[in-house]
């Protein structure tokens, strides 16, 4: 729809530019300072649809959540039962929310310290010229491409007490390692970490490999002329130059950890997630919000989740990402 309407506008505006003020513009056409109405129109037509959709379905819901969060509301009609900060008081004093938050924190830290180094090593490995590299590269991304539901539906029966993993351990003589992978609260969170690493390491590797491509070849040649060993080279050249990529990946990983929902909800479900010690803020939100018919409360949890993510993101951007993003846009903006 929007495509065709822009298509119709194209001809007249293009005409106009060649007849109207075309001559005046000719000397330095694309980077004029003054903004004519025509340019304003182009900007509006081109970016308008995206802004409308984005504001309507991303920004507006977040704003609405802030509003609904002050009400006790079942989701029908307009919210009328104003309760002030009551919902927030309940959330912040609920031990179940505390443990969910703790799990999110645990997942966040472990994701960084497990997936970061593993991802970098794998990217280095896959950046080497080895036979079958292309195939391996496609294969390692398979978990990232299959949906969370498929990952959950596969891992769940494997990790059951009478599932494939325990059976395999028995068969290879490691029967003493058998465990209640999903239901034992001491283990379940680590099982989740293993599944998360399996699922998302491919994405880290994609990013790191992309980052490796940007490191100038000459640096490696120079290092090898200076007699640096492989690991010295990686530590002194690769790691520092991979810095921006690592910081962007870490940012995405942190946000993903804070918002984790799908895999936990699919494998454990809302009730077991609590008892097995893998509940997250998002599963808590869905369990006590929408699934309990309490949309006011659910919205308040969403706001808390939003604020926590926002604070973490801002702190991270302020102290870690700043030097990377500085040049990205500001360098060229007016």
């Amino acid at each position: 729809m929007s495509e065709s309407s822009v298509g119709n506008l194209q001809a007249p505006t293009a005409d106009h530019s060649s007849t109207g003020d075309g001559a005046r513009r000719a000397p330095s056409p694309p980077r004029r300072r003054g903004i004519g109405w025509r340019q304003r129109l182009e900007i509006t037509v081109l970016s308008g649809p995206a802004i409308v959709v984005f504001v309507g379905f991303v920004i507006l819901p977040v704003v609405l959540a802030a509003y609904y969060g002050f009400y006790k509301w079942k989701g029908f009609g307009a919210p009328t039962d104003f309760v002030g900060f009551h919902n927030y008081v309940i959330i912040l004093t609920d031990p179940e929310f505390h443990s969910a938050l703790l799990h999110n924190g645990f997942i966040l830290v472990l994701s960084l310290i497990i997936q970061g180094p593993v991802g970098i090593l794998l990217a280095l490995l896959l950046n080497r010229k080895i036979r079958g590299r292309s195939l391996i590269r496609v294969l390692i991304f398979v978990p990232w491409v299959v949906s969370e539901v498929i990952a959950g539906t596969g891992w769940s029966p494997m990790l059951q007490t009478d599932g494939a993993v325990n059976d395999l351990l028995q068969k290879i003589g490691l029967g003493h390692l058998q465990a209640e992978w999903l239901s034992n609260p001491d283990i379940a969170l680590w099982s989740l970490m293993a599944i998360l690493t399996w699922k998302y390491i491919g994405f880290a590797v994609i990013l790191f490999m992309a980052g490796l491509q940007n490191i100038p070849e000459e640096l490696y040649e120079a290092a090898s002329l200076d007699g640096a060993s492989y690991w010295q080279t990686q530590r002194r050249i690769t790691l520092p130059l991979l810095g921006p990529t690592i910081r962007i990946w870490a940012f995405l990983s942190i946000i993903g950890s804070l918002q984790l929902f799908d895999l936990v909800y699919i494998i454990w479900g809302q009730y077991v997630a609590g008892t097995a010690g893998v509940s997250t803020m998002a599963t808590y939100m869905v369990q006590y919000g929408r699934n309990a018919g309490s949309f006011g409360y659910g919205s308040a949890v969403a706001v808390v989740l939003f604020l926590i993510s926002l604070i973490v993101a801002l702190v991270y951007q302020r102290f870690v990402l700043r030097r990377d993003t500085e040049g990205a846009l500001t360098g060229r903006s007016t």
């Binding site: 995206a50 080895i130 294969l139 539901v149 059976d167 940007n214």
Partner: protein
């Protein structure tokens, strides 16, 4: 070392991957291959479990959970392929993913073009607005989003899934596309200008063609994300005829919870499209993200 000079694959990698193999590196190639092999095994084990499990019977699975099919049974797969539910949900997933992809790419390219090549007050703010979206995956907004979709009457309607998906895919799309569009040399734009080609004419004649790699990458990412999306359809769609495949898999597995083999068959069939799609375009994704990381 034979490994470092492997010609059969090298030609495919050459254009996008300047390989920096240190030929006298400390890592012997056997170690490298061993690690790679272990890696592939771990990566593929759950997928293999699903696919092979579909070829077994339930009693085989109960007796030996980690065994191989013996004998191989195809009835699970044929039954799923004969069920109309599977095809219906496959159709829903395809429709949602295609429309989402087209929507994201069209809106994303237009907005990115403005951000990359126009100078105007508020440009930085507009970029920040979209970039901020990266911080907020759909999870945060899902509760009020559900209310919003309900109020505009799109509950249990595929459009109620498509529109928010387009919106939430825009930040990634724009962040990947802006550097691509900015990288188009100004000389080309000036040449087009002198040839009497307006900004919009330039956009349609040159920009789309020159930024094709970035456009493909964002399109693929949007497609795969839509194909796998879970929480949004979970909230919005509520009858099996409207379900997309992820919901279908889950509904199927609770409906046939005693019939593990059939569930696994259903699951493995539902992952084929995304896998095929991805293996066709893997190179594009890596290339596109490379541009994004650079930017």
């Amino acid at each position: 070392m034979a490994a470092t000079t492997a010609p059969p694959l090298a030609y495919r990698d050459a254009p996008e991957a300047p390989v920096r193999t240190n030929k006298k590196s400390a890592w012997g190639s056997p170690t490298t291959y061993f690690i790679a092999l272990v890696l592939v095994a771990i990566t593929l084990a759950p997928v293999a479990y699903i696919v092979l499990g579909g070829f077994r019977t339930n009693s085989q699975i109960t007796e030996s959970p980690s065994g191989l099919p013996a004998p191989w049974v195809v009835s699970n797969y044929t039954e799923v392929l004969k069920s109309s539910v599977f095809w219906q949900q496959l159709g829903n997933s395809t429709l949602v993913a295609l429309v989402t992809t087209v929507g994201v790419v069209v809106l994303g390219v237009m907005a990115s073009y403005v951000l990359a090549r126009y100078r105007f007050r508020g440009r930085g703010a507009m970029y920040s607005l979209f970039a901020a979206g990266l911080m907020f995956p759909i999870t945060v907004a899902i509760t009020p989003l559900y209310i919003l979709i309900k109020n505009i009457g799109l509950i249990n309607n595929l459009a109620g899934v498509i529109l928010p998906q387009i919106a939430f895919a825009l930040p990634t799309t724009i962040i990947i596309l802006v550097p691509f569009l900015r990288a188009i040399p100004e000389e080309i734009e000036e040449a087009a200008w002198l040839d009497g080609c307006g900004r919009l004419g330039f956009f349609f004649r040159m920009v789309l063609r020159l930024s094709l790699p970035g456009v493909l990458t964002t399109g693929i990412l949007a497609f795969v994300a839509s194909w796998n999306s879970y929480i949004l359809p979970l909230f919005i769609l509520n009858d099996q005829g409207k379900y997309t495949l992820p919901l279908g898999v889950q509904a199927f597995s609770s409906q046939y919870s005693q019939d593990t083999a059939k569930v696994l068959a259903f699951t493995s069939l539902s992952m084929i499209p995304a896998l095929v799609f991805f293996s066709l375009f893997e190179r594009r994704i890596v290339g596109g993200l490379q541009g994004a990381v650079k930017g």
